[in-house]
């Protein structure tokens, strides 16, 4: 079974919590367009990697069928709470746990009431209408010690496990572009990228992504990571690359903009 659609989206909750702020609302609207495209691709499950689910021991996979609650982001608590009710495809998740040995990783399932689902996953589920019974998700943690190449292996593993179950899957990598945020209170109505250099770098990478030139991307990413510091070394993009077997035809950037100085983009890949 092929990967039927793939998306990269930011993990910041601001587009969900404060859509009335114009620049954040634009990104929120792009999330929703991406969600409609995802739904139209009719996946049986959505394979999700979120940089904000951080792990240091083993590779964790969400194996709880239903996770419910009210989430408050540790930074943006003044903008309100995020209710969530997330359905997971635990069959694929268990297969990923069992299959991790094939790529030399220790893995464990996470199935605990009240486990803190991360902000990025909750935001993407809310805005893209996924994590529902129609579109259950499989969520992989971001082990901080995993390299980009190991993250690609994880993405490929998840697709392989879904294939073995005959399921069509969408893929979502959740995380930001340049990570430098403003460290002071700002007027959020005039939010912008923290630096012109970050903005240039983000736009250069977005153009390369749109062109589908994976070779050029691979050679450019180390410098991008060093200079613009995309969130967590841009491992969420590598998750997508791994899931797409290292190639895609082109991509469409639904939105790109500032999230309190950091860069965020909603990107739809053509597998």
């Amino acid at each position: 079974m092929p990967v039927v659609s793939a998306f990269l989206v930011p993990g910041s909750p601001l587009p969900h919590l404060k859509p009335d702020n114009l620049s954040w609302g634009r990104i929120g609207a792009a999330f929703q367009r991406a969600g409609r495209a995802l739904a139209a691709s009719r996946p049986d499950a959505v394979l999700v990697y979120s940089t904000q689910w951080m792990a240091v021991l083993d590779q964790q996979w969400l194996t709880r069928r239903r996770s419910q609650g009210t989430h408050v982001d540790e930074n943006w608590h003044e903008f309100g709470s995020q209710a969530f009710d997330i359905i997971a495809d635990t069959e694929i998740a268990h297969a990923c746990v069992a299959g991790s040995a094939r790529i030399g990783m220790h893995a464990r399932g996470v199935n605990y009431e009240g486990f803190p689902i991360d902000t990025g996953t909750i935001t993407a589920c809310a805005l893209m209408d996924m994590g529902s019974a129609e579109r259950p998700i499989v969520v992989a943690s971001n082990n901080l010690y995993h390299s980009p190449s190991e993250t690609e292996k994880l993405g490929a593993l998840a697709v392989g496990c879904a294939n073995e179950q005959g399921k069509r899957v969408a893929v979502v990598g959740i995380g930001g572009l340049s990570s430098t945020m403003f460290r002071q209170q700002i007027d959020i109505r005039s939010d912008r990228l923290a630096s012109a250099e970050d903005d240039k770098w983000n736009q250069r990478i977005l153009q390369l992504i749109e062109s589908g030139d994976v070779g050029m991307l691979r050679s450019t990413l180390p410098e991008y990571v060093k200079l613009a510091k995309p969130e967590m070394g841009f491992k969420h993009f590598h998750w997508i690359l791994g899931a797409l077997n290292g190639r895609f035809t082109n991509a469409r950037v639904h939105a790109y903009g500032p999230l309190y100085g950091s860069g965020g983009a909603v990107i739809e890949f053509a597998p």
Binding site: V56, L57, E74, E113, M181
Partner: protein, 337 residues
């Protein structure tokens, strides 16, 4: 109103394994024990705290990471179920705590006066971080003393160690001033591990102590060196070495609690009481106390504030000379416990 006092400061690390090993009713998972030397260390720290009879406990936690400023819990009653995101198999804890909102607001205001960005957390649905809960349980399982809880602004990681510690120094000075004006008798808790190199896999039985030892010999030697200096009261030497300790031992004190506490205590050159040391999944943990009241140093005067504010004030800690790690570095050192 009488002026407030800082009765004591504790280095009070937060591995959830210690709660798991103790088997309190609030924690769902059951263990066969484990990490006894550290848990016994906390027993001694609990006894000392009980004798002090503080009005309030102030805690700085590395597991509430904030990017825009230093945040303070600002909801009076908070309760819920806390599940550790790294060790959910060990820590699923039902907690209920009371926040001293007035003192928290005062700390935030004093920090602002010194040029820091500070923010009150007023959302009643907020999830209190597991590091705070673990330290508070281990030091005072009765949960009968109000708290002030302060986030770890990520400046030491995002900027560099020197600038980050400069912020924590100011935060401590602001905290001291708020306590002084409050008239309250306070105890400070720095919720930090020392060396932070850790194993990447958990034993099949987490409490199997035959598997527990320092992950890294150099980290262990650093811990012993720093503890020896602390026990001798050589605070100036400790802070001179702190940046190197942070870099070479991957020490969690980088997140700021230790510097915050010492700044609030005005870096006393008094001998620390070591209640115990032990490793947890390879990291170095010491439970220690700087007994200001016993040393006659608990009363606060008005000379603690820097003369200047903002940038000028931030370099007031002249002996913090760390090179630091690069901006944007992932918070690896903050997550294992």
């Amino acid at each position: 109103m009488a002026q407030g006092e800082i009765l004591s400061g504790f280095l009070a690390p937060h591995p959830p394994h210690l709660v798991y090993g103790e088997n309190p009713t609030q924690n769902e998972p059951r263990s066969q024990g484990g990490w006894e030397p550290l848990r016994w260390a906390y027993e001694r720290a609990r006894a000392s705290l009980a004798e002090l009879k503080p009005d309030v406990l102030l805690i700085h936690t590395p597991h509430w990471i904030t990017q825009v400023g230093h945040h303070f819990l600002g909801v009076r009653q908070m309760s819920g179920r806390s599940v550790d995101p790294i060790f959910p198999n060990l820590f699923r804890y039902q907690f209920s705590l009371e926040v001293d909102v007035e003192l928290a607001e005062a700390c935030a205001e004093e920090g602002r006066t010194l040029g820091l960005v500070t923010k009150m957390m007023r959302n009643p649905n907020f999830r209190v971080d597991y590091g705070t809960i673990t330290t508070l349980h281990m030091i005072r399982p009765e949960w009968d003393i109000p708290i002030v809880c302060i986030s770890a602004n990520n400046s030491p990681y995002y900027l560099n160690t020197k600038e980050g510690m400069g912020e924590m120094d100011l935060l401590g000075k602001g905290t001291r001033e708020a306590i002084r004006k409050s008239g309250k008798r306070a105890v400070l808790l720095a919720s930090n591990t020392l060396s932070h190199w850790h194993f990447h896999e958990e034993p099949a039985i987490p409490e199997d102590m035959s598997q527990e030892h320092p992950q890294n010999y150099e980290g262990y030697k650093w811990d012993m060196r720093m503890i020896a200096l602390m026990r001798q009261g050589k605070t100036r030497e400790v802070f001179k070495l702190l940046p190197q300790f942070i870099d070479e031992a991957f020490a969690e004190v980088k997140s700021g609690a230790f510097t915050w506490m010492f700044a609030a205590m005005q870096y006393p050159e008094i001998a620390a009481e070591l209640y115990g040391y032990g490793t947890v999944i390879g990291t170095g943990n010491a439970v220690m106390e700087w007994p200001l009241q016993k040393a006659g140093l608990s009363r606060l005067d008005t000379s603690s504030l820097p003369a200047a504010t903002g940038t000028e004030a931030r370099v007031s800690v002249g002996f913090l000379t760390g090179s630091g790690r690069g901006a944007g570095e992932p918070f690896r050192s903050s997550l294992v416990d």
